[in-house]
Amino acid sequence: MALGADATRRRLSQTASSWVDRHFRWLLVSPAVVLILALTIFPLGYAIWVAFVTYDFNIPGHAWRGIDNFKEVVTDPNARKAIATTAWLATAAVAIELVIGLLLALAMVRPFRGRRWLIPIFLLPLFMSPVIVGQFWALLLTEPFGPTNWLLGAISGSDVNIRWTTQTPWAYFSILLADAWQWTPFMFVILLAGLSAIPDDLYSAADLDGARPRQAFFFVTLPLLLPVMLVAVAFRVIDAAKIFDVIYVLTKGGPGTDTYTASYYLYEQGFQLFHLGRGTAGAWMFMILLSVVSYWLVRRLLKPVEA
């Protein structure tokens, strides 16, 4: 009997050991798989479900709605306006940041006295929280306590009463100002790295060929900087399309819904009014739209490499 029990134990132990040996690699990766399932796959699946049901704090139950949540977003004038505002605000912000960032990078690419101090100062806004940036500009711009109008009045010699955050188009201007102030350094630092990587030999060769500085810029600098530029633009477009914090602090989407962006609209629907079904459907549509734009930008990015 005892011998039989020992044999059984041995056999079980061998079976278990052999099972562990056969599945060892899976055992090693299983914690990571479980984490990914719990933190990514499940929420993603849940978000798909939420987009197709009633998930609204004011309406009990989770009835199936089909594509009604999507329809409600598409037919909501505030949502359509928010998408349009997002598109043009992101485009304008990135264009401004690109131009100023490039000019700064060109000015700073050659060594000069004080350059090592200026570069960190230029980069400071990049390390600030966007909420702080918004608050900073709100304090500067908003009446009656902000000094901007007073300063402009002192310079121009007449009363200035611009409502920077509550009147269109000044509200757009304020948002672009705050965004550009924070993110131009990002463009600057990437473009500076790109410019520094262009070999001096190429400029010497262009010089020997009789190229003027403008020609050297358009035929040497720009083509070689283009891939870096596209990387910077791609990152910034994706990020600028999600702009939220500065708007939350500066304008709260106003006046009216003039400065509602997609993120602000979705935040309001989802986390202020708890129309989670509608908010999630909107978030899916926005994500797909942003993916298309990102895909197009990445394709453009890869083209020079393929060539």
Binding site: P255, T257, F271, L273
Partner: protein
């Protein structure tokens, strides 16, 4: 039961003052002597302490002379008191005795972030722990998140909160969503019913929904008019006003008068002083309160009760928005970008001749609040002794926001949470809380309005209390029904669009279309019932204010 003026009690107080007795020992021994918790709180507050900011002395509640709650359970047949706390025992004492069974528990309480949270952090939280052993954890939230955060935590069933500070308009949504628990049984069990009779009649029903009680009212947030007496009594200005506008310079009684007087004063005194100020910043919040107030003062309503179509774009609605726009033009430049604190700052600096706002305005104007360092971000008042009080033009001021203390349905200890609320809102403790220099809780009990102690805090305090009572008699309440936040957001957007140049009629047409969509999405029949229930509340319209119902409270 001992009184604080008996020899043993006097000895105890003397030893506390001399530092020979710790606060905890004082509480223990005073309780053993039978001194009520309200009186203990008053003494501790008056004596101050290292770890607390000393509140002003508060009147000794009449309940101190009642038999101790430990020996006599609360009487359910106690007659309702009109001007006194209940006769069946101080509900604060009852709460303290019962709450000792929950010593060691931590109640998690939401408060609007900033000033509102100073009371539980500095005064009521530490005192409650000394009396009962129950700790208080304060969770500060921005005003809009007082709606969204409890919902998020309820959906996540996190049990993150025990007590919720809920503006009345959010209660229907919270009830329908199961966020808050009914407390009628607890009120009955712990004999709190009679103490509710001491609450001003405008506020009594604000913690209820569909016949059940979900919270205890805790903040009388009436809008009122504050004006500069020195300006309104200036002989030159009085004469010029009379000759230009054909009426004496006095607190305006209609909204058109308000605009005219503000325009007149701005014309005469700017840029040193402007006729008026307001808080019009989108999301601050303020626009919806001001619009709801004027809409009803102008005879308008929210919905057609038969069809539930929005009628905010009626003539009364358009007139209200046009009047608000006119006030903006007569006000300090940048009024569209001001929030409540910004307006207070301009007012206390003496740059505004009149404003309408919440009750802390009166206390800050007299530098009563600024005596506490917590208020250091608010400038010292330059207008002490110069401020007069009046109810709003066209009588119907808004009870704008305010707070009801509700119990989270996900609380892990409903009884401890409820007892904390009963103690906090009891006549004796709430009186101390509304008189804290740094408090933003405003008088709401009859015993607050009639308190001699409160009335003596500054020379005009009695007039201030009388005005607040009068304002509540004539006041209208916020729209209280499911999706109230949605409706309010739409109005806030419409107002700020008008400040940005949109035509008022068009903005209101858009807002009305948005309201109809919200109603359809929430359920038209359900909203119809809810609106019908809202219309039964005192102050729902200008026709059923407390005064119009013949129930005005005379002090």
């Amino acid at each position: 039961m001992s009184r604080p003026d008996e020899p043993e009690a006097r000895d105890l107080v003397a030893r506390l003052n001399a530092g020979k007795l710790s606060r905890r020992d004082f509480v223990t021994r005073a309780s053993a002597l039978g001194i009520s918790t309200g009186a203990i709180g008053s003494i501790l507050a008056a004596c101050g302490g290292d770890e607390e900011v000393a509140p002003p002395p508060a009147e000794t509640p009449p309940a101190e002379t009642e038999p101790p709650a430990e020996t006599e359970p609360p009487s359910e047949t106690a007659p309702p008191a009109e001007t006194e706390p209940p006769a069946a025992g101080d509900p604060a004492d009852i709460a303290v005795v019962a709450a000792k069974a929950h010593a060691g528990y931590t109640v998690k309480v939401t408060y609007e972030g900033g000033l509102q949270a100073l009371d539980p952090k500095n005064f009521s939280g530490p005192l409650w722990e000394e009396l009962t052993g129950i700790k208080t954890q304060v969770i500060e939230l921005p005003f809009p998140e007082l709606y969204s955060k409890p919902i998020a935590e309820h959906i996540a069933t996190s049990g993150a909160f025990d007590i919720l500070d809920v503006p009345p308009p959010n209660i229907p949504s919270f009830v329908e969503g199961g966020v808050v628990a009914p407390i009628d049984d607890l009120i009955e069990q712990f004999g709190y019913g009679p103490a509710q009779e001491d609450v001003h009649p405008l506020y009594r029903a604000l913690g209820t929904y569909k016949g059940q009680t979900y919270g205890i009212f805790d903040d009388g947030d009436m809008f009122a008019l504050y004006y500069r007496k020195d300006i309104f009594e200036d002989p030159e200005l009085m004469s010029a006003h009379e000759s230009e506008l054909g009426r004496p310079l006095a607190p305006p009684t209609t909204w058109d008068e308000y605009t005219e007087t503000a325009t007149f004063l701005t014309g005469k005194l700017a840029p040193d002083v402007y006729g008026a100020g307001a808080f019009r910043k989108q999301g601050s919040p303020g626009n919806q309160f001001a619009f709801f107030q004027q809409l009803r003062a102008n005879g308008g309503t929210f919905f057609d009760p038969e069809t539930m179509d929005a009628v905010i774009n009626s003539d009364a609605g358009v007139k209200s928005l046009e009047q608000m726009l006119a006030v903006n033009k007569a006000s300090i430049p940048g009024v569209e970008e001001l929030d409540a604190v910004g307006q207070w700052t301009a007012w206390l600096q003496g740059k505004l001749a009149m404003i309408f706002s919440w009750p802390p305005t009166g206390r800050m104007s007299e530098n009563y609040s600024q005596r506490d360092e917590s208020f250091s971000f608010i400038p010292e008042s330059t207008i002490v002794g110069k401020v007069g009080y009046a109810i709003m033009p066209q009588l119907n001021g808004e009870h704008a926001g305010g707070f009801v203390k509700c119990i989270s349905a996900d609380s892990k200890n409903l009884e401890a949470a409820y007892l904390t609320v009963q103690w906090l809102t009891s006549p004796s403790i709430s009186l101390q809380r509304v008189t804290l220099p740094y408090a933003l809780r405003d008088p709401y009990r009859i015993s607050h309005f009639t308190s001699e102690e409160y009335g003596s805090l500054w020379p005009g305090a009695k007039d201030y209390l009388a005005m607040l009572n009068d304002a509540a008699n004539n006041g209208v309440i916020d729209l209280i029904m499911p999706a109230a936040a949605d409706y309010s957001f739409a109005i806030d957007r419409a107002c700020s669009a008008v400040w940005g140049g949109e035509d008022p009629k068009r903005a209101l047409d858009n807002a009305a279309a948005e309201w109809n969509k919200i109603t359809d999405q929430t359920g038209r029949d359900k909203q119809k019932d809810a609106y019908a229930a809202f219309l039964t509340l005192p102050g729902a319209t200008a026709e059923n204010t407390i005064a119009a119902l013949g129930q005005a409270l005379t002090l």
